[in-house]
């Protein structure tokens, strides 16, 4: 808690409807954000119980300087992932961090299962569990609209909600945050669904005077200048991450058609530049961010045959273009936006959905499944059928779509085709086939995401494979991101928030740490994550890398399977060394 020596927690039990507030000084050892959330997950997790057991916790946390400095805009959610069965960690921007900060809470711990569909409202002086039976079954957009009309606090309010996919326990269901942001990956939406929790609103209206305004403003201005003046941040604003489509495709690193290819013949049609020319209608920012990287694209859709058209706006970025575009052979930007809109409304993680459908398409082509299972013929490039398939996944239409709703790893265990079920640690792959760094980074990452350690970035900077250098770079980045995420800084600004800047920012608001102390905090957080993973039965060397990774050329050439496992072993050795230190 800013200007205080404690972390303020809000505990909500949906079953007993008991609310409790605690002030914990011991949690300051974890700084905030992912540090505090990881410790709280360790304390509240029930490893012996099912992922959907009502006693499993969900934790939301912000950091010590959330929204006080530019681009520190995110909230972290920690939970046990129903997709992987292990550590669940997800980040979202929007207004949530600001509203939690101004409501006066550093973290919220939710457990129990509501008796009937409910939504939670959190304000500075009040917490209520309200009836959401009328909202159950609504899409993310619909439930947002109803709650906006029903609850006060517009402008200082955040609304997070699940769609039908979360209600139906699709194991990679996401949570929509303030319409255009999401807690994606790893199935937080399903965990909320398992708790009968349709939505959470947070209203923050506290006024907080700045302690040492002169010092704070000086540091703020320095950071603001770097954020708004540097080319790297300009790129996020002007083109956004879709700028990656072109270089990845040229380098042979763009996963295409379930990674049967790493170059997409229609790459130019779905490049960032094409989206800007054809679809971009506006840019938005999370509260507290001067960059504005959220790109909103628009497509036209006919209401019905012979009727007028509506213009539909959805957010897009690189990972969505990869997963619902090149990975499925979708050839135009309009069609990709239609696909994004489908997953958005139903509340699915876009990346997992695309990768799951990539496997399903190939399984259908290879006759592991027939149209009896798929209902519609799945084929790369066929948008209309994919949109139907997305609806079937969200509703668990039949046994096959029920399997797809459990992820590509589960579906391939049931139907075969494991060699091309593109998962890493049971999480569907990200959009980079750049080399060993991308594969190993996600395989060893605490939550099996490219965001754990940016392995693709290591590939980009490495002229030729140097095993020690690669493993050390990934390990160092994984640890450093524990620190960045304990402050819940948007990782786009990670180069702005170097150690010197972090120390200056914290000092200016009365939080004094040395460089060594911050390093110790980062390691403490990482160790706690590993302890949690081990308690859930995770063994790094059990992770199997699909053979397809080694059959399709990457941007670094054809990769060797044995080398990849050797790198994973090297990384695991480093983790084990850290754990006994």
């Amino acid at each position: 808690m800013i200007y205080e020596k404690y972390i303020k927690l809000l505990y909500v039990d949906l079953e007993t409807k008991k609310i409790r507030i605690e002030k914990r000084t011991d949690l300051c050892d974890y700084l905030g954000g992912v540090g505090v959330a990881t410790k709280l997950l360790e304390e509240n997790l029930k490893p012996e119980l099912d992922v959907f057991d009502e006693n499993q916790p969900v934790i939301f946390a912000i950091g010590a300087a959330s929204t006080v400095f530019p681009v520190i805009t995110k909230t972290v959610a920690m939970f046990r992932s129903p997709l992987t069965g292990e550590l669940g960690e997800s980040y979202a921007g929007g207004r949530l961090a600001l509203t939690l900060f101004l409501a006066g809470y550093d973290a919220v711990v939710i457990r129990g299962k509501a008796e009937y569909p409910s939504y939670l409202t959190i304000t500075r002086n009040n917490v209520e569990i309200k009836d959401a039976r009328a909202l159950w079954g609504m899409t993310s957009e619909e439930v947002g609209r109803v709650i906006r009309e029903r609850e006060p606090g517009g402008g200082k309010r955040s609304i997070i909600r699940i769609g039908p996919a979360g209600e139906n326990l699709v194991r990679y269901a996401s949570v929509c945050v303030d319409t255009y942001r999401h807690f994606g990956r790893l199935g937080l939406g399903a965990v909320m669904g398992s708790k009968n929790l349709k939505a959470i609103t947070v209203v923050g209206d506290r006024d907080l005077p700045v302690g040492n305004f002169k010092e704070y403003f000086k540091v703020y201005q320095e950071i603001y200048k770097r954020v708004t003046d540097t080319e790297i941040m300009a790129k996020y604003h002007d083109a956004g991450t879709p700028i990656n489509v072109e270089p990845l495709n040229a380098a042979g690193g763009l996963p295409t058609k379930n990674l049967k290819q790493s170059v997409f013949e229609y790459g130019d049609n779905i490049s960032g530049e094409t989206f800007v020319k054809k679809n971009l209608v506006r840019k938005m920012a999370c509260t507290g961010c001067p960059v504005g990287c959220i790109h909103i694209g628009q497509f036209r859709r006919e209401f019905d045959k012979g009727h007028d058209y509506e213009a539909v706006s959805v957010g897009y970025d690189f990972e969505l273009i990869f997963a619902l575009g090149s990975f499925l052979g979708i050839k135009t930007s309009d069609e990709i936006l239609m696909m994004i809109e489908a997953v958005e409304e139903l509340g699915l993680d876009a990346m997992s959905t695309g990768v799951v459908l990539g496997w399903a398409t190939e399984a259908f082509m290879k006759k592991l499944v027939t149209e009896n299972e798929t209902i519609v013929p799945l084929a790369f490039g066929k948008t209309e059928n994919y949109i139907k398939a997305i609806e079937y996944i969200a509703s668990r239409k039949n046994e096959f779509y029920g399997a797809l709703a459990n992820g590509a790893d589960y579906a391939s265990n049931k139907y075969g085709g494991k060699d091309y079920a593109m998962t890493l640690g049971k999480n569907e792959m990200p959009g980079y086939h750049t080399g060993y760094g991308a594969i190993i980074g996600a395989a060893v990452g605490a939550r099996h995401s490219h965001l754990c350690n940016g392995g693709y970035s290591v590939d980009q900077s490495m002229k030729e494979l140097d095993k020690d250098k690669l493993v050390n770079a990934i390990f160092a980045e994984e640890k450093e991101r524990c620190l960045l995420n304990s402050l819940v800084i948007c990782l786009f600004a990670r180069k702005v928030y170097d150690r010197k800047t972090i120390i200056a920012a914290l000092n200016s608001i009365g939080i004094n740490y040395t460089d060594d102390e911050l390093t110790a905090i980062a390691e403490r957080i990482y160790k706690t994550k590993i302890k949690i993973k081990k308690s859930l039965g995770f063994n790094q060397m059990d992770v199997k890398l699909p053979k397809r990774f080694f059959q399709t050329q990457s941007a670094s050439g054809l990769l060797d399977e044995n080398t990849a496992y050797e790198l994973m072993q090297m990384y695991n050795n480093k983790v084990e060394e850290m754990m006994v230190k």
């Binding site: 991450t241 990845l248 040229a250």
Partner: protein, 76 residues
């Protein structure tokens, strides 16, 4: 000697809107030297290809080569 630069659209901001440039270079000039001579910052340069083949930034250029330049990959 002359070489030809073909730039990804992002780099137009450094080259007065041009995406194809003709550059007169000295023998022994590397790809990155040729690219940065146009005003493009080195920190912005990602993949470089010559005749559609990926090359290192310190690749020594030959007369008439066509160099394609892409921005670095960004993300979280």
């Amino acid at each position: 000697m002359l070489v030809y630069l073909e730039l990804s659209g992002w780099f137009k901001r450094y080259t007065a809107g041009n995406t194809r440039l003709e550059i007169d270079i000295m023998p022994g000039t590397t790809a990155i030297q040729a690219i940065t001579s146009t005003g493009i910052p080195e920190s912005e340069v990602g993949l470089v290809t010559v005749s559609d083949i990926k090359v290192a930034h310190d690749h020594i250029l030959s007369r008439g080569e066509i160099i394609r330049v892409y921005p670095i990959i960004i993300g979280g």
